[in-house]
Symmetry: C2
Subunit: 439 residues, 2 copies
């Protein structure tokens, strides 16, 4: 007998899971469409060299590789790989279909990605990302609209307490320059600073020393906190690129005023973001009851150039569907309208020879828009009703000899313990009315 587990770190989604996932996805899609983002989908597998080298050494290790087919299979050589994120495939698509795509292109993409990470609580090897990106424009409206769209989606899902932390890669660079940290050590310094929340000032100082950064972390952090407390004090404090970055961030915040992002966006100078391809603004979303982030993103003006040979400005945001689902589940944020029952009505039949009539009447109810399940087995009516009850189906429609003789249908509401008999043609409307009343 074959084993029955799903692959390690991957999940089967039973009907209730799928319905919750689709509820969240449908809201995110609807909001992104309102902002003029268009849907894109790419294959699950990419040529291996499309992905290798785009995510750093650690990323390379986590890419699932697919064996070459046919006679080459024995060699153990891989030529394909499973999609690792949605950003690199986007960059490839922009380069490949450039003539078919508009100069200014806004797209969203909601698809699974695969990472050969060690599975852990809340960390899976197959998980969905919900990405939204603008291509072709350097305007700060791009960042502001991304923040507005993401805020709009989260708000519509029922989140009120999320925070979008905003920073800028060049601003970090200029602050490190100001502190006298040599450029080649910036990467190390950012990795250390990124841990401030977790390890405190002493921890960062220890890591600076360990990583050979010739600057007192305490003074640097104090300066960052000073800027953070009075952002206006940054005006005129930096070299020219830093000054521009600070103005860019200020403009982004200004543009979100009056949008759904208004109360959620804050400058956070301690935000660094891991990925190396960011070139401008960077963003991350947090909620108080989740250790990691709900999503993040930023501007990456050079990535598409790796595929196209010329740079195309780009900026995007990725929401983590699995984390949104976890928080919504823990907080009880799913409305009862996210159906957890297989049907609105179950047709019960006294005599199996009347199943043809059951199918006909079910057809009438379905044309009214009801979801109808026919009980197929020759069981006693009591057992049939018990089954409907166990599945949470609110109505049972019974076809017995009286009903068949009179062209009627007896409809039981299980929870209310009520029962009514209708003409077959008008039963659907009556059930729909009662469904609406009872919510």
């Amino acid at each position: 007998m074959a084993r029955t587990e799903p692959a390690r770190g991957m999940r089967d989604f039973l009907p209730e899971d799928v319905r919750r996932r689709e509820y969240v996805i449908s809201i995110i899609k609807r909001v992104y469409e309102r902002y003029g983002y268009e849907p894109l989908e790419t294959p699950a597998a990419e040529n291996l060299d499309t992905l290798m080298g785009k995510y750093g050494d650690e990323g390379n290790q986590l890419i699932f590789k697919i064996l070459k087919r046919g006679e080459h299979e024995a060699s153990g050589q891989a030529d394909l790989a499973l999609r690792y994120d949605l950003t690199v495939p986007l960059a490839r698509v922009i380069a490949h279909h450039q003539s078919k795509l508009p100069r200014l292109f806004k797209r969203y993409q909601i698809q699974p990605v695969w990472r050969a990470d060690r599975p852990a609580r809340g960390r899976f090897r197959e998980f969905y990302q919900c990405d939204v990106d603008s291509l072709g424009s350097t305007s700060p409206v791009v960042e502001a609209e991304l923040c507005a769209a993401v805020s709009d989606a989260l708000t519509e899902l029922g989140f009120a307490d999320f925070r979008i932390r905003l920073n800028h890669r060049q601003l970090l660079t200029s602050i490190l320059n100001l502190a006298g940290i040599p450029e080649p050590l910036h990467g190390n310094a950012l990795i250390a600073l990124d841990k401030l929340d977790k390890v405190g000032v002493e921890g960062v100082a220890a890591e600076f020393e360990q990583r050979g950064i010739p600057v007192a972390a305490e003074a640097l952090i104090e300066r960052i906190r000073g800027f953070q407390a009075k952002p206006g004090s940054m005006a005129g404090a930096f070299d020219d690129p830093g000054e521009q970055a600070w103005r860019n961030v200020a403009k982004i915040v200004y543009l979100t005023v009056g949008t759904p992002a208004e109360k959620h966006v804050d400058l956070d100078l301690s935000l660094a973001r891991g990925l190396s391809y960011y070139t401008g603004a960077i963003m991350e979303i947090n909620v108080p009851d989740l250790a990691g982030s709900l999503g993040g993103g930023g501007r990456y003006d050079n990535l598409i150039g790796m595929f196209l040979g010329e740079n195309v400005p780009a900026c995007g945001f990725s929401l983590g569907l699995e984390r949104i689902l976890v928080v919504m589940g823990e907080r009880g944020m799913f409305p009862s309208s996210v159906a957890t029952t297989p049907a609105d009505v179950m047709m019960a039949v006294f005599d199996p020879k009347d199943l043809d009539s059951a199918m006909r009447v079910a057809g009438v109810l379905r044309r009214d828009g009801l979801r109808v399940l026919i009980y197929t087995e020759p069981d006693k009516i009591g057992k049939q009703i018990k089954y409907a009850d166990s599945r949470g189906i609110p109505f049972v429609a019974i076809l017995g000899s009286d009903e068949l003789a009179n062209g009627t249908l007896t409809v039981k509401h299980l929870a209310a313990k009520t029962q009514n008999t209708y003409e077959q043609g008008s039963a659907g409307a009556a059930i729909l009315k009662e469904l609406k009343q009872r919510g």
Copy 2:
């Protein structure tokens, strides 16, 4: 510079493609939900041994295998494989989650599958299947409902001329028995008979001889055609299992009377279906202008036993999304409401400093439900309008100094060459009204 092609045999779906795919999927889903089928999703990758040996030798060759991770990678050993169809994962899920699933379970599943086939026109290495299955019942209502649901979905998509061919594995067996073909040669005989449409009676006769089947194909085909012309003549013609099969088929056809399948289901005694796991009724859908089938299915009462150790009756239908899309595209069956434009309205701005106001007004229009794109670049208004026109965006909303001073918005309908100025708060309703009128 990295190459930009998608992997061989796989496709990028640009916005217009995604919208057409989602239009078809949403109709199929909605119809299946009305019949009480529930959604299920399984991982893209399965443990290798879950898939191997389930699809015959040819199938084994076409399974994409994924390399073991970590230090094992160098060995070239595979431990995972990409989903090859949706039926075997369903059987695994039924066995694995048995305690959480109802005794009678109806599910649909719409997900991609991967096959390392040689790519050709209309044949891809990544393609979607739309499966619908009933588990736990041997009632002919199951087959009749599957035919009704599939017919309902195809009808709602706009198909009128499809034909569901229905046959039964045991009926074929009994006919071959009647003709005196020894049981071990039945498989070969069915393969030959399956080609009747293509190679004619002589072709089948030649193949019978070549495959060592000691029976005149002409007489057998004549007998099948006789039964086909007068199905009633099958009553009493067979051994007991054949008699039961013939009654089962007749019952299925009878039960579809009055359902959306009524005018589409026909008995076709020449239908054989390739897969070896079918045990009862088999079905296939065809349209005149497509060489292959739009979908097919049948009863497979023994497959789940391979995972569970005890058999669970099962019957299902699989629609091929890609083929449905091809025929719908060729026939021009997509309604104009399948949006091919990125937005309903584009905001054009005279002066980039007014982009903040553009974002605010866009927010007002979006709250009315409109899809709104903001033009972000500091281009001349003429160029901005040209962009909207080239993207098929019907309305351009212009914010100039007059509009800003008066709290108004000027809205151009590009095709009609009309222009109106509205209060900003009432512009959305006016645009929506015009959108509806113009379709």
